[in-house]
Symmetry: C2
Subunit: 346 residues, 2 copies
Amino acid sequence: MAEYVRVAVDAMGGDNAPSEIVKGAVDAATANEQVRILLLGDEKAVQTELSKYTYPKDRVEIIPTTEVIEMAEPPVNAIRTKKDSSIVRGMKMVHEGEADAFVTAGSTGATLVGGQIIVGRIKGIERPPLAPLMPTAKGPVLLIDCGANVDARASQLVQFAQMGSIYMENVIGIRNPRVALFNIGAEEEKGNALVKETYPLLKELDDINFVGNIEARDIPAGAADVVVCDAFTGNAILKMYEGVASTLLGEIKKALMSSLAGKIGGLLIKPSLKSVLKKFSVSSYGGAPLLGLRGLVVKTHGNSKAVEIQHSIEQCVTFQKAGINDQFKDRMHLVDRTVKKEESAS
Amino acid sequence: MAEYVRVAVDAMGGDNAPSEIVKGAVDAATANEQVRILLLGDEKAVQTELSKYTYPKDRVEIIPTTEVIEMAEPPVNAIRTKKDSSIVRGMKMVHEGEADAFVTAGSTGATLVGGQIIVGRIKGIERPPLAPLMPTAKGPVLLIDCGANVDARASQLVQFAQMGSIYMENVIGIRNPRVALFNIGAEEEKGNALVKETYPLLKELDDINFVGNIEARDIPAGAADVVVCDAFTGNAILKMYEGVASTLLGEIKKALMSSLAGKIGGLLIKPSLKSVLKKFSVSSYGGAPLLGLRGLVVKTHGNSKAVEIQHSIEQCVTFQKAGINDQFKDRMHLVDRTVKKEESAS
């Protein structure tokens, strides 16, 4: 039992639940003998999907739940009231050590809130950041934070830099990852109050490869492996990426369809275009980890297909096998304030 | 004399100075009889360029200057010490009423600093925002602010919304422009402390068409005409736009060149692609206005060609003829705090 990595999977989350989620879970269990999957959701619906496949039955189990948190629900309320939802139950399993990780394509808000109040933080971690990978011309970049910390403090950004570096090194396999601070100019004295306070703190750290400030225009070109920012800025960066790419490709497509030469040319360039789009897809890396928790929570896209679910489960296995949370504790010199308080009180 | 709009132009700023700047100025003077141009720069160099053209000599004048502020110079220091630079002299002309507007492709930092301390703010305007136009699938959007106000206050964002709305209506000709607040979600309660404080203030204004929050991914699709944000966020949005577009188009080009079918297809789609790129170019609108000053300052791209300079000069004419600064004073109900102080002191 102990050698398995136990991944709880929200079978009810996202646009393609439960079919694609169950398929992804089956694919992961089939491809990786080290994983044991706990599928949380409506028992009958999940069983119906499972019955379509042959799979290692001893490593895929259904955990029946009766409630579902919808995308539009106010997260705090949903987490508090829907005790038998797949998200709350899955996170509780991680909190209670019955699972090592939890994967969901469901509500981002509920995932962030649940991670904080159900799974709980590693002692000494100030705030858990959500860290999606973005595609660049030179491989993926980890954008940390895109989660709930919209009014972040410098000390939090420092922890994001450390966690991001350890994650990219161990889970994505980038040696000595280049960690950059997002800013509006390259010079140290540039920026708002937050980044001006953060820069010298990052410069002092000797256990990360801090490469200084990075401007937005250099991110898609691949000038860093980890980009550190508050979640408000991270969200702007991430969603501009999606918005510009989708608008630009849509306009190109429309222009091609408006002339015969464009249509013929469009057919000829299709394979090249597909290769670019494939390069700019990050679903092969899995979803966005919510880091700094006592366990791992991975948030995949709402429209995830089986392949992203499968890779997210594999991401949990790598995370667990590499002992990332132990590395956080050891390498970040985390101070467990609870223990300190108790000690000084005794 | 009074019917002319007098535009001071920095002939020494940007990558293509003085040749493209002088050409743009000549084109503007030729196309528009209402403009009088004051070309600031090295007398001999500017004269050499001017002598290449036939142009209305009574409306194009050289103002000799001896210094140039370089792109990389620390702006505050440059503005203070280079008293005979084209930027400092041009801005002084606006301050002293010898010119109505100033156009420069030079240092953004020096332009922002000079606008504040040489040209000076309209009384009651808290901070002057730099407001570039960005292309969208449905026409241009004004992104206000992308300048120096990286730690903005809610009251400043409210003024940005008002100035942006008046500008888009009168200079770009958008009726009842849709003004949106940049945020990480559509709901009123989302966001960081700044936008949470700003939202209800914008909702209260009855002289702008406030359409609520806008997320980054909806900007390129054209969901608003004016997007209000602090300059740190604005910079992230603007430069992600440039970065994603340039990386994506670069990768597509590279992919096309890697196969024969791609090369042939590439030739066939060239006209379509050009039409898209043209649609996504904003140089036909001129440069980014620095608003709220006693006069107008327009910052064009560093790599501006003659056409952008010409359009920026025309933009100054429209701005002046529409009496935008008077509209700011009247419609924004600006409180002149200096006068109030004097009154209460007497």
